[in-house]
């Protein structure tokens, strides 16, 4: 049974304002004190006016709260706490006398039954310490960033030079290839002429022989006939061979062009991984096509007799969870993601051709505003966030950044950037020169060994050419990217950042893509989209599609730190991921100055210890 209790007594805060501070300054920031001087004061929204007695009289006269900065009477008013020893803050008037100490000086609870300890000195000290640390990080970060920027500029210039050089080589090589092609054409023409000539000759000989035979005895010369036929066949065969080879080259060449064009579209990242993954997806395709409709059919058919009780249970559960029916519980993220591999290549190639608008970002902005626009909280709380994000001094060993393994850069520079590459080109040129010199077009019959040498040189040169072209396009594609105001993100191009959260390993490759891997299965969280919020966020979009959800996407928030470290991967909404990357790239000087002046301000406002 319910126990009988003596009726509770409730103390009404508004009735008891015993130790109220001076009303004419209560909750008013110093810069506004002048506004409240005088006998009649206007409501800021122009809705009316109030007398000096009505200032902070715990009755709301101005709907905008002008007359009640120090009480909770007006819902839209703001209360200013001085917080001597720390940073002043402005809080919602709904916090005044609500029983919770919001200001570190406790000034917001002057009329409630709680006693707030003044914690401003300790809190302020801690905040200053944190800020100091942060300033120190920024100082170092700014230096590192400068170095990075220098390196990036050099690297960029180098890449540009490389590109120019490649283009020069392309031009030379193109010339050679054209010449060789012409040469080859001439050879083939000469060969053809020679063949025709031979044919003619043979025909003539044969006719003569026949004539002679007819004249002599009328008896046929069988052996001769056979010989002639053999020769004819042989010639024919050679001809076919040549044609074949020729066709083959042409095809190869075409392929190269196509491939390099495609790779240009893909930001020069025709990776082996990519190709095999694509192939894998294509292989999987038919299974998926058949899997989905089967499931549907079973669900909607009148008699899903084929299903076990468990299968039926899982299937019905999956409607709510959007999960694969092979999964037990709805919190398990894997299952359906594996099934949802959608073939990307076609899409990917098309993406740059079509102007795809950005998905709405409101939500993310809002989500992050919690951290960023933390105006009403203690400064030290803000520092808490940032300290976690920006002062990661102890390096987790699972956090790594390394050169992107599916990047072709290492590859495409291999034989071109070697110091000796010029001699390689010279060598080709020389060889070709030699070929030209040696080859005697007027020598009949055609020197077969010379002809095949021309062909070989042509093949070599054109394959080199297409290789160079492919390299040009991928390098050009790279250089087209946005690397920041000072190209501070240039080194990101070759890097991936990795972190482990639970059973998943997250990998973020700037300018390429982001993935979530568990064991051998990997989910694409998005392909590189762009920087946002003036280089504070990297956005990856159009990742693997979520079952009954959006395409996966990832926003990586960048914070000043001394090295590149990925942290705090999270999924606030389904399939919309966020992460934090500490990097010197965003340790900018302006922010350092801002922090420094904030620190100076905080330090100068320190009261003497006797005040506390």
């Amino acid at each position: 049974m319910r126990l009988l209790l003596v009726g509770a007594l409730i103390l009404c805060a508004t009735a008891a304002l015993e130790s109220k501070p001076p009303l004419d300054t209560l909750g008013i920031p110093p810069q506004d004190e002048a506004y409240y001087r005088g006998g009649v004061i206007k409501c800021r929204d122009g809705s009316g006016r109030f007398s000096r007695d009505q200032l902070n009289d715990d009755f709301c006269d101005c709907p905008d709260g002008t007359d009640e900065p120090g009480t909770s009477a007006c819902p839209e008013a703001k209360f200013y706490c001085k917080n001597a020893g720390h940073t002043p803050v402005t809080i919602f008037s709904s916090r005044v006398n609500d029983g919770i100490c919001d200001c570190c000086d406790g000034s917001d609870e002057y009329g409630s039954n709680v006693t707030c300890k003044n914690t401003c000195w300790e809190a302020g000290k801690a905040a200053r310490e944190k800020l100091k640390k942060k300033v120190a990080t920024y100082k170092n970060g700014v230096v590192i960033r400068k170095q990075e920027v220098e390196r990036a500029k050099e690297a960029f210039a180098k890449d540009e030079a490389e590109l120019a050089k490649l283009k020069g080589e392309e031009k030379i090589l193109q010339g050679l290839v054209d010449k060789l092609k012409e040469q080859k054409r001439l050879i083939e023409k000469a060969e053809e002429e020679e063949r025709l000539r031979k044919e003619k000759e043979e025909k003539r000989i044969k006719e003569e022989a026949e004539k002679q035979a007819a004249v002599e005895k009328g008896a046929p010369d069988a052996s001769r006939d056979v010989d002639s036929k053999e020769t004819q066949d042989h010639v024919q065969e050679n001809k076919n061979k040549v044609a074949e080879q020729h066709d083959g080259h042409a095809t190869d060449h075409d392929n190269h062009v196509t491939e390099s064009a495609a790779s240009a579209e893909q930001h020069g990242s025709v990776s082996k991984d990519g190709i095999s993954a694509e192939a894998g997806t294509v292989d999987e395709l038919p299974q998926k096509e058949s899997a989905a409709p089967t499931l549907e059919k079973d669900l909607s058919s009148d008699n899903p007799e084929g299903l076990s009780r468990e299968e039926l249970g899982r299937m019905v559960a999956s409607r709510w969870t959007g999960e694969s029916v092979n999964e037990v519980s709805k919190d398990d993220k894997k299952g359906h993601e594996d099934e949802q591999e959608i073939p990307e290549p076609a899409e990917e190639a098309l993406e740059d051709e079509l102007d795809i608008p950005e998905p709405a970002e409101e939500n993310y902005g809002g989500y992050h505003s919690e951290v960023e626009d933390d105006r009403h909280k203690y400064e030290d709380e803000e520092f808490d966030h940032e300290s976690e994000d920006e002062y990661v001094d102890d390096h987790d060993d699972h956090v790594e950044s390394y050169r992107s393994d599916d990047d072709q850069r290492g590859d495409h520079h291999s034989d071109l950037t070697e110091p000796g590459h010029a001699s390689w080109l010279d060598k080709i040129q020389q060889t070709v020169q030699n070929v030209f010199q040696k080859f005697n077009f007027f020598k009949t019959p055609v020197d077969l060994s010379e002809a095949s040498r021309v062909r070989k040189e042509y093949d070599d040169a054109s394959s080199k050419l297409s290789k160079i072209q492919s390299k040009i396009s991928s390098l050009a594609a790279k250089l087209k990217h946005d690397f920041g105001k000072d190209k501070e993100f240039y080194s990101f191009y070759d890097q991936c950042f990795e972190t482990k959260e639970g059973k998943y390993t997250y990998k973020v490759c700037a300018y390429k893509k982001a993935t979530q891997a568990e064991g051998h299965s990997s989910t694409n969280l998005g392909r590189w989209d762009k920087f946002e919020e003036s280089y504070r966020v990297m956005h990856f979009s159009n990742g693997d599609k979520c079952w009954s959800g959006p395409d996966r996407s990832l926003k990586v928030r960048l914070r000043c730190g001394l090295s590149n470290e990925l942290n705090d991967v999270d999924e606030p909404s389904r399939c919309e991921y966020v992460a934090v990357l500490s990097t010197p790239a965003v340790c900018v000087e302006e922010k350092l100055k801002e922090l420094q002046s904030k620190l100076d301000a905080m330090s100068s406002k320190q009261p003497g210890h006797d005040e506390l």
């Binding site: 009726g7 509770a8 919770i100 009780r309």
Partner: protein
């Protein structure tokens, strides 16, 4: 949100096409998975029968009609073809209720099983309250019994027919079997060789070992223009639409069968999560109600005039056909002069709604799922950062260790007590989910215990029933058994529920029960319960018993001093005694926003005042404008909670830009400012069952314009609001009933009554009005939570009627305990007349305990006060206070519109008078 169409490579395109074709289908309601009437043999049989065409119509044996010693009347109904007669019992409950019970007379030929009577729904003192009926007067095969001075019951013997009529005029009010459709399939001793009792639906087989046992009858409501009630169905219509007869296209009866329906339709007679077989008829001349206590599947037809082929229609009669698969007849006829009387009588039978704690009437924030403690922290902080109050943060199924309820996923919630304490420091609470399916995992103590004790529902062969739900293979405690309910209740003790604290409350979901691999996503009908009952006989009450056991658990946990808060999805008649319900898994579209009003109103009419729909819509992403409109409507729902499916984008109120954040804040602020009024309304509901949110006709029963208005609603007697249910709507027509004027809640502008007003639609509010002649108590200061507002001063908004008068009430108690039952509460009536506001005590004296408060009234706004007075005098004390012109709401930019008494600071506990000087 979707990317724009792209040129697609053929195979990719094909895959997308297949996906596109599959996914809407996968997301839509599946008609095929639920039985319609034609696939339900008892329904098909009953429904295809013509009036007066029964093979074996029942007649009353004249000599059997007697008054029993307990004051009821009993009689025998029979037909020669039946194996045994039926026993009829008639009893009367004051003031105007008649109970009709019919069961088989098992003394003559005993079948192997008896019919099921639904236990623990009717109030235990019902029999004690039964009136002693006078001797019936029988003339020519018609017996008449006087129920009261103004009501008679007329019983025609052959065929049996019962009519409740007004004694003076002889006008019928309600009748039973006027169309001769009363059929009562007798229980058989055994299955005849040539019959098949098994029923098949999709892959499921119902053995139906007890054979056919359905009951059908017709009930007529006289003088009714419309009938209402029978939750729960998706509908945009407040009145129940005809389901059969001329003009009805898709004929399907209203189905009462508790089901977990994936993506239910906003407009459908098919059954949803809860069932209350209670119908109210209302018209200009009469209000009446009919309640059939039966927990088996029920199908009810509302018959359109002319359904029976009759050409000349009796004016104002609505015929209905009631069909149930099993059970007995235990029916109540309620006669009211006013519709509120009908509800009060229904409540007098099924119990008064529990009085919620103050916090439960405030705003709740939920999502499937707030994933971990950091997420909880972040959302909690988000409300504070945006100065939006909220009272309760909810955790859905993912908070558990593998869907084992009463456990925590310790990797996400390592310190649940600490988390709850942090939330509680701001006066807030938390809610965790506890569902009835128990994971069949031998290492789970709850499963082990339930197995050992034999506490699970059994399958048809007597083994523990094994179904599939969130945890996978699961079993279901047999909540019909009081001993098992007791056991279940004990699981909520702090000792048993590790990680729970006194500020943690409970949410019961999936208690229809939902069984993913069961027929129609529920438990097989031939599953077996306590006392030889088949699941088919009590299906609709399973969730009710579960809700009951959970609420009892919280009551026990708090040693009877803390009012439980338990939200349930399934419900039955009587669920009002155990807590709140919501309209389940709705969808984020405008139609669902619109249907939420008739759905919540209907729940209120059926005795469940504490209900609401998920704000924003559970499935799918609401467009931001829809979300805003939903908050504006939801702020008036008795139960106000935002919730979302885990595939949806985050939608906490501050995620849609500053402007929308401000509008949502405004909507939530409005709710918080009206909390004193809401709490007073909950008090009223807890006393007599009159709902918090009411159809217009409940307050204006004579105004025919209001009868089928499902777009506007009343909150209590004083406020009227109408949602905006269309995207980009520019103007809206609002009908304001009654003779008196109405005042716009936003700016105090007056509008004439008994008129339809075409209003411009505003972005920042929905049309809402205070009725002239009323006084509404508010608290216009905002805090982080309602708990923190306890000491804040009140504002009274007085809207004077044409004679310069108004009145209203204020009820205040400690907001959490049961001390109010011993008189520890403040209950005032404020009356304004002759330029004088008086506060009267209407709380009874000397109940034992007292509640007091130092709270004062800081502001009194008097709309349409004509006097230009600048002063008011408070008595006692002869204290003078100022009157100034002030705004009706404290929002930046509001202009002064009404005389406002400034800082009278009179205490709410005191009696006083304020005279406008």
């Amino acid at each position: 949100m979707d990317p724009p169409p792209r040129r697609l490579a053929a195979p990719l395109f094909l895959v997308l096409l297949l996906l596109a074709a599959a996914s809407p289908a996968a997301r839509a309601w599946k008609k095929d998975e639920f039985r319609n009437c034609n696939q339900t043999p008892f329904c098909k049989r009953a429904r295809t029968r013509a009036p007066h065409s029964l093979d074996a119509p029942l007649s009353l044996a004249a000599g059997s009609l007697v008054v029993s010693p307990d004051g009821s009347i009993s009689a025998e109904l029979s037909h020669p073809s039946r194996p045994r007669p039926l026993v009829l019992r008639l009893s009367a409950l004051p003031p105007h209720a008649l109970r009709l019970q019919i069961d088989e007379d098992y003394s003559t030929a005993t079948p192997p099983h008896r019919r099921f009577h639904v236990p623990d729904v009717l109030l235990p003192d019902l029999e004690a309250r039964t009136l002693h009926l006078p001797e019936p007067k029988t003339v020519a095969g018609v017996s008449t019994v006087a129920l009261s001075s103004d009501l008679d019951v007329v019983v025609k013997h052959d065929p049996f027919e019962l009519t409740v009529r007004r004694a003076g005029s002889g006008d019928p009010v309600l009748s039973f079997n006027s169309h001769g459709l009363f059929d009562f399939e007798p229980m058989r001793e055994s299955k005849p060789e040539d019959e098949t009792w098994e029923e098949h639906f999709r892959s499921h087989t119902d053995k139906r070992p007890r054979g056919p046992q359905s009951i059908t009858f017709d009930v007529s409501f006289y003088g009714a223009d419309f009938v209402y009630g029978l939750p729960e169905h998706g509908s945009t219509s407040l009145a129940l639409r005809p389901t059969r007869g001329p003009g009805v296209e898709e004929s399907e009866p209203y189905r009462l069968f508790n089901l977990d329906v994936f993506e239910y339709l906003h407009e459908s007679p098919f059954g949803l999560y809860g069932s209350i077989p209670f119908m109210i008829g209302h018209g200009g001349r009469a209000s009446s109600g009919f309640f059939w206590l039966n927990a088996a599947e029920m199908q009810i037809d509302v018959l359109a005039p002319g359904w029976d082929g009759a050409t000349a229609q009796e004016n104002g009669r609505i015929d209905t056909l009631w069909m149930a698969e099993a059970g007995v007849v235990d029916a109540f006829f309620f006669v009211g002069s006013e519709p509120k009387d009908v509800i009060k009588q229904y409540i007098s039978v099924t119990g008064t709604p529990s009085m919620p704690q103050q916090f439960a009437t405030a705003y709740h924030q939920c999502r499937w799922n707030y994933r971990d403690e950091a997420d909880v922290d972040g959302v909690d902080a988000g409300f504070d950062e945006h100065d939006i109050p909220y009272d309760v943060l909810w955790l859905d199924i993912e908070h558990t260790d593998g869907k084992r309820y009463f456990t925590w996923d310790r990797s996400a919630f390592p310190n649940p007590e600490e988390m709850q304490r942090k939330i509680a420091d701001k006066g807030r609470k938390m809610v965790t989910i506890v569902d009835p399916h128990i994971k069949r995992d031998s290492s789970f103590h709850l499963h082990q215990e339930a197995t050992d004790k034999g506490y699970y529902v059994k399958d048809a062969s007597g083994n523990d029933y094994d179904g599939w739900c969130w945890p996978g293979s699961s079993s279901y405690p047999d909540m019909l058994n009081p001993e098992i309910r007791e056991w279940w209740a004990d699981k909520f003790s702090y000792e048993n529920y590790k990680g729970s604290t006194p500020t943690l409350y409970i949410w019961n979901d999936m208690n229809e029960p939902s069984v993913f691999n069961g027929p129609e996503v529920t438990m097989p009908r031939d599953a077996m319960h306590y006392g030889d009952a088949e699941h088919r006989e009590l299906h609709n009450a399973y969730g009710y018993y579960f809700h009951m056991a959970t609420a009892d658990g919280l009551l026990k946990r708090g040693e009877g001093k803390d009012r439980p808060f338990v939200l349930s999805r399934a419900f039955f008649a009587g669920s009002q005694r155990y807590g709140a319900v919501w309209t389940g898994d709705n969808s984020a579209d405008w139609d669902h926003l619109k249907s939420s009003i008739p759905m919540v109103l209907t729940l209120g009419l059926a005795g469940l005042p504490f209900s609401g729909a998920d704000v924003g819509g559970f499935f799918g992403n609401p467009e931001p404008d829809l979300l805003v409109r939903w908050y504006q409507v939801g702020a008036f729902y008795p139960f106000f909670r935002g919730h979302a499916h885990h595939d949806t984008k985050r939608r906490e109120p501050w995620l849609f830009g500053e402007r929308r954040t401000a509008i949502i804040r405004e909507a939530i602020h409005m709710r918080y400012s009206l909390l004193p009024y809401f709490y007073t309304l909950f008090r009223e509901a807890s006393v007599n069952g009159i709902p918090v949110m009411r159809p217009l006709w409940l307050e204006f029963p004579d105004d025919k314009e209001t009868y089928n208005n499902g777009e506007a609603f009343m909150v209590g007697p004083s406020l009227l609001a109408q949602g905006i249910y269309e995207e980009g709507q520019k103007s809206v027509s609002v009908y304001l009933p009654g003779k008196e004027s109405w005042y716009d809640l936003r700016n105090g502008s007056p509008y004439k009554g008994s008129a339809t007003h075409k209003l411009q639609v505003l972005e920042d509010s929905i049309p809402s009005f205070q009725r002239a002649g009323t006084i509404v108590p508010r608290k216009d200061r905002f805090r982080r939570s309602s708990t923190q507002m306890v000491n804040d001063p009140y504002t009274l908004v007085i809207a004077l009627n044409s004679s310069g008068a108004a009145e209203g009430e204020l009820y205040v108690d400690d907001g959490k305990s049961y001390d109010y039952q011993q008189g520890a509460f403040i209950h005032r009536r404020f009356v304004f007349a002759d330029n004088k506001l008086t506060s009267f005590n209407i709380a009874p004296d000397n109940l034992g305990k007292k509640f007091t408060s130092d709270c004062v009234i800081e502001r009194i706004i008097v709309l349409s006060l004509r006097s230009g007075a600048k002063k008011a005098i408070i008595e006692p004390g002869n204290q003078e206070v100022e009157i100034e012109s002030g705004p009706i709401s404290l929002r930046s930019g509001s202009s002064p519109v009404a005389p406002t008494i400034r800082r009278p600071n009179v205490h709410i506990v005191d009696s006083w008078t304020i005279r406008i000087a």
